[in-house]
Symmetry: C3
Subunit: 135 residues, 3 copies
């Protein structure tokens, strides 16, 4: 079973959609199987991260802003704006797909694990994510 | 078929569990299919890496210690210890899930590929990993 | 269904094989399912990235050359050449496996998404990639 969800972003940072993923698996009726999450873009990405303290997400966003800053003078791909090539780099450093086993009709996430879209562009975007479950 | 294994860690570094993954696939009876490995934590992660020279694992651990050091003064999430937020960052830079095709009843790893848990915390931890195979 | 493809590389950089992946899924006859791509090496890796402007691939290669340069004096694993341990590091920072949902007999890639082998060694190599589709 497959479904596509859309997430509206408003700037760089992590956007949690654990609830949508859990609901999708529940509605699929799959009791034991595999959930796959795939993002259809190359300037945002996916992460499983801690959803307890919001400072974890802020620090992650800050780390990636520092490791791939906008002012790298050697960049060639600059025509889509100063935040575009750093966005591709941050995407390469994180995930485009996640695979999460399902048991008892739920993704087997750990206690503190949340599923996030990681937006790397400054401008608002509508991001498409494909959810797939097999069982 | 699913199974959960537990790995006891004693500090930062790579812990190989290729043997457990191969044995799980063998016992499942799946001849051709897909093995998925998922770690249920956000301060350790997964890697497929070379298992020939142990210096590869040491150098990998050292690289991540240098790219996400404990003394980053701008970090906000510090209440769980100086090694906790760097652990989340190292986890984001590596993998939470791995998908490995299975043929002839074995994961199709290359000659030098081993499957590792990458522990990012200093204190000993009991880490839970889910193995899932479909065929 | 599974297939193994081989890609001949001639130095560091990104080599697109989206066409081979699309063709594999088409020939499998799977209409809705999941494509998994797995690379059987630890000194090259996989990426889904933009395939519109070739400068994106060049900038990605340059970024990884800068984040894991060959002259890191603390490296221990140097016996396979100065580009080998940086190759393992770049591999750890990117992907060994990719999971892409399939619909209407095609991988659900976004408009600008291409599937790439990311070669991290300087010398020419023959790289083995496993394609797996279930439906």
């Amino acid at each position: 079973m497959q479904s596509q969800i859309s997430i509206r972003t408003s700037g760089q940072g992590l956007y949690e959609f654990t609830g949508e993923a859990v609901e999708f698996v529940s509605e699929s009726g799959v009791v034991e199987g595999l959930l796959t999450v795939f993002v259809r873009h190359t300037s945002c990405s996916l992460l499983v991260q801690e959803n307890a303290d919001p400072d974890v997400c802020r620090d992650l966003n800050e780390f990636f802003a520092r490791i791939a800053p906008e002012n790298m003078s050697w960049l060639r791909h600059t025509m889509e704006g100063p935040d575009d090539m750093p966005a591709h780099i941050k995407s390469a450093l994180t995930q485009v797909s996640l695979s999460i086993p399902v048991a008892n009709g739920r993704p087997l996430l750990g206690t503190w694990q949340g599923v996030y879209l990681f937006e790397h562009r400054r401008a608002p975007h509508q991001r498409k994510i494909v959810l797939h479950v097999s069982g």
